[in-house]
């Protein structure tokens, strides 16, 4: 199993570790994942996300190639822009979801750890049938470290320790800055629903930047804590962000999980024909949010209507520390997807009352 360069730090901090996407990752620290979630919502959380992958696409054909392989519009992006997108297969289902950065001399694509190998194989195969001489694909995951700094005071902290004003970056843009002396690509992006950044920098500087940010936060009276993957999941869930393998997968169309907005039907892209076919035929299930009484609704639990008929299943569910509810994401028949619809989730053989609610349960900072 792989380890990130902060592995020894996590162990020394008393983290509970578990395998995730081939890495031994911190799930929670002694503070506990509920408190970690709340710290990120009130101040600053630091996330070791080195397991995420980074793919660089360059060459004279790179613009046309990237536009063809991802679902969202990218050719209108300016240097520094960062945009959410999907990597679809020809069936119009989701190989991965990713962030595409347009940099001055390259496309920088951030992919999920668990899908990195498959994404790269898919991209390389498409490049070979596209214009192989004009597109170069490099996996930059090994030499690149990635830390997320998230929370309402994250930008304040970053401004204090950087050589340029991170607060001047618009949401979903990026720039180059030295943070605590370390040269970083700073993206004003994240996966928590809070303001903040994701930092890309040389892997050798991981411990320096990580421990430096914690120390600077403490020194300046800005509560800054390491956050594990359990809280990362509850933060993203509450903010309505998808996790590949749950709300998105190769068995799920973006139309079913509400990601039509990430598909630019005015351009050509891999999977477009399938998306258009499903759009005209109509989806047979839709992703909904449910709040549930009487236990934690977990992945795989059956969803029933009030008559007891099975109408879908839970793809992710948990206790939401800020919204203070038990909630689930589930795919159900379109006729049952309206807010206020009464359903049930079967928890340990017993029907627990559930109601369809508007997602997200926590409105992300950039949407307020």
């Amino acid at each position: 199993m792989d380890q990130t360069r902060l592995h020894a730090w996590h162990i020394a901090a008393g983290a509970k570790m578990a395998p995730f996407a081939g890495y031994d990752m911190p799930i929670s620290y002694p503070m506990g994942s509920v408190e970690e979630h709340l710290v990120t919502r009130r101040s600053v959380g630091l996330f070791d996300i080195d397991h995420m992958g980074q793919v660089e696409v360059t060459g004279p054909g790179a613009d046309a190639f990237v536009s063809r392989i991802v679902s969202s519009r990218v050719l209108d992006m300016k240097d520094g822009d960062a945009r959410y997108s999907l990597l679809l297969n020809e069936r119009g289902t989701v190989i991965d979801d990713l962030f595409v950065y347009k940099l001055p001399r390259a496309w920088w694509i951030v992919v999920n750890a668990s899908n990195r190998a498959e994404d790269l194989a898919w991209m390389r195969a498409l490049a070979n049938t596209h214009k192989p001489a004009e597109v170069r694909i490099d996996d930059r995951s090994e030499e690149t470290y990635m830390i997320a700094v998230q929370g309402p005071r994250a930008i304040e902290l970053l401004d204090l320790v950087s050589d340029s004003r991170i607060s001047a970056y618009p949401r979903f843009s990026s720039g180059n800055a030295k943070v605590l002396g370390v040269p970083c690509l700073v993206g004003r992006t994240g996966y928590t629903g809070e303001d903040g950044v994701e930092l890309f920098f040389p892997a050798d500087d991981a411990e320096k930047l990580w421990t430096g940010l914690i120390a600077e936060g403490e020194k300046r009276g800005i509560e800054t804590k390491a956050i594990g993957l359990a809280a990362r999941d509850s933060l993203r869930f509450e903010a309505g962000m998808p996790l590949h393998g749950h709300e998105l997968s190769q068995d799920i169309s973006p139309l079913e999980s509400g990601f039509k907005w990430a598909c630019d039907l005015e351009k050509d892209f891999v999977g477009k024909a399938a998306v258009e076919r499903l759009a005209s035929a109509g989806v047979t299930r839709k992703l909904v949010g449910l709040t549930v009484q009487g236990g934690v609704p977990r992945e795989g639990y059956e969803v029933q209507d009030e008559s007891g008929r099975a109408v879908g299943s839970v793809v992710a569910g948990m206790f939401c520390p800020t919204a203070k509810v038990f909630a689930a994401n589930a795919f159900v028949e379109p006729g049952l997807a309206k807010s206020g619809t009464a359903l049930r989730v079967i928890i340990r053989g017993k029907p627990a009352p559930a109601v369809v609610v508007k997602r997200p349960l926590y409105v992300p900072a950039y949407r307020r």
Binding site: K16, I27, S28, G32, S33, V34, E35, A230, S234, G294, G295, V296, R298, M318, F319, F326, R348
Partner: protein, 127 residues
């Protein structure tokens, strides 16, 4: 790992403590630490009669749901209502405010078969 010296234990990490004629039970400090943040506890109806080793409830942490088992046979006299509003009491005070159930033991001699604090500490320490 803290151990309540006045309790006896099951190897499945429940404790039992005599309280007059009643027995009170919950889960050990070792168990709450291994489970992580506890977000929901399901407890039995008062009056229910359960055998030793039978599941009496469920404790749900952020990561998983786990059954909890009767350390001794008994009739449920009271359950800790405070856990429905504040299940994290189990994390903070596993041997006091985070108790689960109080019951009338129907076979008091089962006490002698439970693990002593020393035996439980040795067993849990090996995990």
């Amino acid at each position: 790992m803290s151990i309540d010296k006045n309790s006896r234990y099951r190897s499945s990490h429940e404790w039992a403590r005599k309280d007059g004629a009643r027995v009170v039970s919950g889960i050990s400090d070792h168990a709450q630490d291994a489970l992580g943040d506890i977000v929901f506890v399901e407890l039995p109806e008062v009056g229910k009669v359960l055998k030793q080793g039978e599941a009496f409830g469920v404790v749900e942490s952020v990561k998983a749901a786990s059954d909890v088992y009767m350390p001794m046979s008994g009739k449920i006299l009271a359950v800790n209502e405070a856990l429905s509003g504040d299940p994290a009491l189990v994390n903070r005070e596993p041997y006091s405010g985070g108790w689960f159930i109080a019951y009338e033991p129907t076979n008091p001699s089962e006490w002698d078969g439970l693990l002593t604090p020393e035996a439980y500490e040795a067993e849990a320490g090996k995990e």
